[in-house]
Amino acid sequence: MLTLSGIVIVIAGFALRFNPLLVVVVAGIVTGLAGGLSVEKILITFGDAFIKNRYLSLFILTLPVIGMLERNGLKEQSQIVIGKIKAATTGRLLILYLFIREAAAALGLVALGGHAQMVRPLVAPMAEAAAANKYGKLSDELRNKIKAYSASADNVGVFFGEDIFIAFGAILLMKGFFEQYGIIMEPLAIAVWGIPTAISAFIIHAFRLYRLDGKIKQAMEEAK
């Protein structure tokens, strides 16, 4: 039970706004000690796990490309393109992106999208521009809200689409896990039972994105 102190440190550290990297390291050390691990083992685990999980940082390889394109007007061009589509509103654009992201993920095309690859350079500027074209200059608060919702569309889309793809790692993890209990399941069976949730996720989040248009309109009218 003492090992749960690590969890307490994480929650408290994040809530008290200490630097998360430091919080995580302290929590790790405390958990390790509470769990009876030697200092040496703790250090080795830190190093080993850090190296094994380097793939989590591969997004930095997209940055030179995105940076170069932004320097040469990528965001501005995104806004010009959106300006030409009369029916484009922030909400509709993000609902469309949510749909594409979730459908592509369900087909195994999880690479189509992503925060560094698509949200920052394309989706967020377009979402902002759709609102700006309609209402004029947006407040910082509103622009940040639109950007946050753009990121949320990517997350909700990929999370609730990917488990419908039968070869996806999560499904294989679950299948393998139950095999140790002697229960054999078909990947398709697991995928199919995910469909109600996947559809619910789309409906719930699309509805909130639809309401975002109303919130933007209200904020801009209040600002007048």
């Binding site: 850090f50 690479a111 946050a148």
Partner: protein, 318 residues
Amino acid sequence: MIFSLEYVYYICGILMAIISFLAFKDQSNPKRVLTAIFWGIFAISFLFGKIIPPMYMGVAVIIMAVIAGIGGVRLGSYSQSTEEERTDRAVKFSNWLFVPALLIPIVTIIGTLGLKEVTIAGLALLEKSNITLVSLGLACIVAFIVALSLTKETGLQSAREARRLVDAIGWAAVLPQMLATLGALFALAGVGQAVSTLIGSVIPLDNKFMVVFAYCVGMALFTMIMGNAFAAFPVMTAGIGYPLVVVMHGGNPAVLCAIGMFSGYCGTLMTPMAANYNIVPAALLDLPDKNAVIKAQIPTALVLLTVNVFLMYFLIFR
């Protein structure tokens, strides 16, 4: 194989080394030495990660956290293009600007789906066991070359632009890996067992709804703690899902898995521990509130979790 994941890491390492060097030279950053050391250690982890003994790497990781904790990772100055220049160039390059950006996901998919079995002179072209990641690396190289030839920028300028973006993300760039190390320590210390024992001791075991509720909400909560539903799944399922829902009450395991994992994902939407989905994007989008993405997601996550509990309750005992 010709392209392995290790080569992709070497390229990351070279990029981070250049960024570290540029950070060191940037006089406008009062903490330039600490900032340079931070990114330098990151570069070393990519370049020499397989060679350096894990214990020393562990010490280096702790040093990175300390540097970040004392505010040593700072922004510098960047010779950015002006808004006027960018608008002019947007008109000049028009929709060609989208080509390199879209090449990244497209080439990744081509590699993952199409190039899996391709061999050249008997050697596999791409490392099969990590095909998506290697394809991503390849895609970034291709997009980089196309972007360079389109914009006529220099390689060094692209490194400067990358540095601008990396600095904007800041120490958060390393948070996903750091959280993975915490996950490893939790696993070794048996945190999972402690949590499921705790939950198992408070729920009324013969109530079908409560057991389903405990499993789904437990998945969400434990995912919020671990930052990762895959880490929560074995613990929650072994502790509650399998013994109580499947064995004791005869629930369908396929339903348990599918809806259980999705309940975990509801947790992922709400936790700063899922740094690469919630915190890094907030930094990447220059949001002053690091939790802004989470805040935009919480209502969806809570409603969906509720829906999940009822879906599981009505579907699992057929």
